[in-house]
Subunit: 106 residues, 2 copies
């Protein structure tokens, strides 16, 4: 489908029961994935520090870059990804995922 | 506040009245901003092509990189940004903005 790299943007809002240790554990789990899934060519993340109050409650953003849509398609059903999602999702109040083939303007 | 670059992730869901021409006009308006606002060091965007059905209705993603939080702070009240937002917002059903200082894992 897509010819170029695919950016995979993921936002989390953790449930209220998640303390700092559990949040960090969930983030460490995500950070471990690029070492297990070769299709993740670039991976970066951070905590929200926006000032416009349009974050809709989401607190963390993770951006993975795949070489192409085939890389993304291989990532989704990868066992390491599935195992992580199984541990993660009970701790999430909201999750948002959007993928796009970037047009670089500047 | 932040020492490193700031990624500014913006998601749009357009209102139902927006046809393709109007959507393209709104995107072109955003694409014109980096030429007017020096603080926008990198800018890329694209339409959602995710396959997990977790996009929460959002259809477009835009990522601006600022050199630091001061760059982001100067962008928000910039007249060119304010003028664009004034034209844009009546056409948006939903908007989400999250900023973060990226930790690059891979």
């Amino acid at each position: 489908m897509a010819n170029g790299p695919v950016k995979h943007v993921v936002l989390f809002k953790f449930k209220d029961h998640c303390d700092e240790a559990l949040v960090n554990e969930m983030i460490e789990g995500y950070k471990a994935l690029p070492g297990k899934i070769e299709h993740m060519k670039h991976f970066e993340y951070g905590a929200d520090m926006s000032i416009e109050n349009l974050h809709q409650g989401f607190t963390h953003c993770f951006i993975t870059t795949f070489a192409d849509s085939e890389g993304r398609d291989a990532y989704i059903p990868h066992q390491a990804h599935k195992d992580y999602v199984e541990v993660l999702f009970p701790n999430l109040d909201k999750v948002l995922v959007i993928d796009f083939v970037p047009t670089v303007v500047k």
